[in-house]
Symmetry: C2
Subunit: 407 residues, 2 copies
C-alpha cells in the first residue's frame, strides 16, 4: 500500500514499485563523479570521438529536409517508422549479409536501449526469465529488470558463453523465454563469439524454444580480422530479434536504433511504442534517411574504422609497454573497448580507487556483473573519446599502478 508521510516540511515519503529494489544505480556515473576534475582522463564511456561525427553532412541535410518537409516533420507521424528511413535501413543492414528477410519488418527506436527494454515487455510476463551473458551491458540489464524480468547470467569465455552452463540455464524453471547476447565486440569484455558457438547457441535456443535478442551496436566498427555472420543472418526459423543502433556510427544524440524481426513480432513492438513514447522525433528520422541515401557509407565506416583502429592499437601498445606482465588483456579487432584483468592476488577495488584519485575514469567488472563472484578483477577501458595524448599519459599512469599492486 502507498504511504505518504510528511517527514519534514520539504520531504515526502513515497512508496514506489518494488522493481526499483533490483535496479543498480549506474557505477559508471559514480566513477565519473569521483574522477571529475579539469585534468580528468575519461576511459569510461562508450562515447564516439567528436572527430568521427559527420557534422557538416548533418548540418547540410538538416537544412535541406527542414526546407522540403517542414510540415511533415512538425506534425504527428503516421506510424512509428518513416517509410523512406525503413527502406534505407533495410538496404544498409543487408549490404553485406541477409539480416532483413522477406518475413521481417523493422521498427525505429530511441537508441537501441528502448528496443532492448521493450523486448522484455513483448515476450516476458512479470517474474519470467531472460538469459544474459555475464558480465554484460548494464543498461540492458536495468531495462529488463524494470519489467520485472529475472536474469540468468551465463559466464563468458574467450569465444563466447560457456555452453554447458548455458544449457543448464535453459533447463531452469520457469523456462526462460529470451536470450540476450552481444555476439560481436561484446560490452564490456570485447569478446567476439565464434561462429561455431553462434551455431551451437542458435541450436540450443531452437531446442528450448527461446527467442534470441541479438544486440549488435559495434559490428560495423571492425578494424581488423574477418567478419563473423550475425545470428540474424543464420536464422532460418524466425527466432532472432536483431537490435542495432546508429549511435556508434553516426550520432548518439540523434537517438536512432532499430529492431528487425519477424513481422508478427514487430507488430507487438509497434503497439508498445504507440502506447508510450510514440515515434522517434521526425527530424532524426528524416535526417538519417537522407544521410543513408546520400552519404557513401562504406567510406564513412572506413573513416571510423581508421580513427578507432589507430587509437585502439596505440592503447594496446602502451599497455604492452607499461602494464605489469601478470595483467591479462586481449587485442580488440573492433568495437570501442579494451578489457584487462588484474591477477587474482591483486586488489581490484584499490586499483579502481587509486585510478579515480588520479582522475582517470575506468569501469570495473562489478558494474556489469549479473552474479556476484569472489574475485572480479576485470576493467573496461574505452579508447574512443580520449585523445592520443590522454591515452599515452593515462595508460602510463595505470601501468605504474599495476606495478604497485602486482608484486
Amino acid at each position: 500500500m502507498l504511504t505518504i508521510q510528511k517527514e519534514d516540511s520539504t520531504t515526502m515519503k513515497y512508496t514506489f514499485a518494488a522493481r526499483f529494489n533490483n535496479i543498480t544505480p549506474s557505477g559508471i556515473r559514480a566513477v565519473l563523479e569521483k574522477a571529475a576534475g579539469p585534468d580528468m582522463i575519461n576511459f569510461s564511456p562508450g562515447f564516439p570521438d567528436n572527430d568521427a561525427f559527420p557534422a557538416n553532412d548533418i548540418q547540410k541535410i538538416s537544412q535541406d529536409v527542414l526546407k522540403e518537409d517542414i510540415y511533415t516533420i512538425l506534425q504527428y507521424s503516421r506510424g512509428t517508422t518513416y517509410p523512406p528511413l525503413k527502406k534505407a535501413l533495410k538496404a544498409f543492414f543487408n549490404r553485406q549479409e541477409k539480416i532483413f528477410t522477406e518475413n521481417d519488418d523493422l521498427m525505429v527506436t530511441s537508441g537501441s536501449g528502448e528496443g532492448l527494454e521493450m523486448a522484455a515487455k513483448v515476450f516476458l510476463n512479470p517474474g519470467e526469465s531472460i538469459i544474459v551473458e555475464d558480465p554484460t551491458f548494464v543498461g540492458a540489464l536495468n531495462g529488463f529488470i524494470s519489467n520485472d524480468a529475472k536474469l540468468l547470467g551465463v559466464p563468458v569465455e574467450s569465444d563466447g558463453m560457456n555452453l554447458g552452463l548455458l544449457e543448464e540455464a535453459m533447463q531452469s524453471t520457469p523456462a526462460p523465454k529470451l536470450l540476450y547476447i552481444i555476439p560481436t565486440f561484446q560490452n564490456p569484455t570485447c569478446i567476439t563469439t565464434s561462429l561455431e558457438k553462434r551455431r551451437a547457441i542458435y541450436d540450443l535456443c531452437l531446442k528450448y524454444n527461446i527467442i534470441i535478442l541479438e544486440d549488435n551496436p559495434y559490428g560495423t566498427l571492425r578494424f581488423k580480422g574477418k567478419t563473423i555472420p550475425t545470428l540474424k543472418s543464420i536464422d532460418t526459423e524466425g527466432i532472432v530479434v536483431y537490435c542495432a543502433s546508429l549511435s556508434k556510427i553516426i550520432s548518439p544524440g540523434i537517438r536512432l536504433g532499430t529492431i528487425i524481426a519477424n513481422k508478427e513480432i514487430i507488430d507487438k513492438f509497434n503497439i508498445l511504442k504507440g502506447a508510450s513514447a510514440g515515434a522517434v522525433t521526425n527530424w532524426s528520422q528524416h535526417v538519417i534517411a537522407r544521410f543513408l541515401e546520400t552519404v557513401d557509407m562504406d567510406k564513412h565506416l572506413a573513416h571510423l574504422q581508421s580513427v578507432y583502429g589507430k587509437k585502439s592499437t596505440f592503447m594496446v601498445e602502451m599497455m604492452k609497454k607499461t602494464f605489469h606482465p601478470d595483467v591479462k588483456f586481449t587485442t580488440p579487432e573492433g568495437g570501442m573497448f579494451v578489457w584487462f584483468e588484474l591477477p587474482k592476488y591483486a586488489d581490484a577495488r584499490t586499483f579502481l580507487n587509486r585510478a579515480t584519485t588520479m582522475h582517470i575514469a575506468i569501469v570495473n567488472e562489478e558494474t556489469f556483473a549479473v552474479n556476484r563472484r569472489d574475485k572480479m578483477n576485470g576493467f573496461r577501458l574505452s579508447f574512443t573519446s580520449a585523445t592520443m595524448e590522454q591515452i599515452e599519459t593515462g595508460i602510463a599512469k595505470l601501468g605504474k599502478l599495476t606495478y604497485e599492486l602486482c608484486k
Copy 2:
C-alpha cells in the same frame, strides 16, 4: 511457456506476454483506414493545424543551434534533460500559476505518452490499480495496461468525475495507488473539472494515499472563459505528478513532453528513462529551449487560441444549424474537440458506419471507454486540422445523418 511452431513456410507462431490480451487496438486508426479516400474529411485526430506551426522560427532556430552546438547535439547528453530547456520550461509553466515548486524537479519525455506510461511503472506493481476517468485518452490506458495495471473507471459528469463513485473506487482492494485525470478540456469529452470538484478530488486522494497523475496537454489552448487552477498548483503535499506536452502548442513531431513532480519522484522517472529510451533527441531539446527563450509565447499562444477559437465556434454554429435537436453537445471553451451525444433511442454504430462510408472520420465513445456500458452514444469531433470548408461540408453531412437516425 513459449512455443514456436512452424505453421507454413512463412508464418511462425509466437507466444507473447499476456499483457497484449488487454490492449485494445486503436479504434481511431481503424476508422481512419475505413474512411480513407481523396475526399476524406478528418474530424478524428488531435492534430494541430499546419497553419499553427511556427515553421519559420523552427527552421531558423535549428540552423542556429546546429551551428553553435553541433558536437553537443550529436554526442550523448549528460542526463535526460538539457539544463537550459529545464530552466525555460520551468519559467513557461510558472508564468501564470505555481506549477513547479522548490521541492520539484522536471524531466523531459518523448511526448506526454512516455511519461504517462512510465508513471504506472514508477508507482504500480503488476496487477495494482489506477483510477481513471471514463471515457478517457485511450493512449494512456494502453500505456497503463502495458505495465499490467488494472483500470478502475469512474464516470465523468459535466463538471468532472462522479465523486461518490470515485470514493467507492478508492475503497476497492487492492488499494489503488494512482489517479489519472485530464481536468481541463478532457479528452474525449472536452469537460473541464470544476474548481470545487478539483479540491474534492484532491482531498480524497490525500485521504486514501493516492498519487494524482494530472495530464494537461490542452490547458493553454483556452479561447474563452476563465482559467481554473491546475491540481498541481493547489497541491501542498507533493502528491501531484504533472504531465504536459508541447505537442499541441509547438509541434508533435518534435516529441517533447514534460513531467513535473517532487524530486524523489522525478529521480525514479530518470532511472527508468536511462534504462530505456535515454534522453529525447538533443536537437529537439536544443531547438525548444531556444524557442522558449526567444519567442514571445503569449503572442504565440494568442495566435493558436484565435485559430482554434474560430474553428471551434464555426463548428458549433454549424452543429446548431444542422444537427437534430435531440443531439446534445456542449460549446468548448478550449482544447481541440467537440463532444456530442445521440439520443439513447438512436443507433450509434449505424451513425459511425454511415459517417465512415461518407468518408468522414469521427471517433465513437466506445474507443475511449473503460467499462462497457449499454448505450455509448457519444462522439468526438476534432476541429483543429480540418479546414473551414471541410467543417462546413462535413458537419452539414453529419447533421443530415442525425435527422436520418433521430426520428
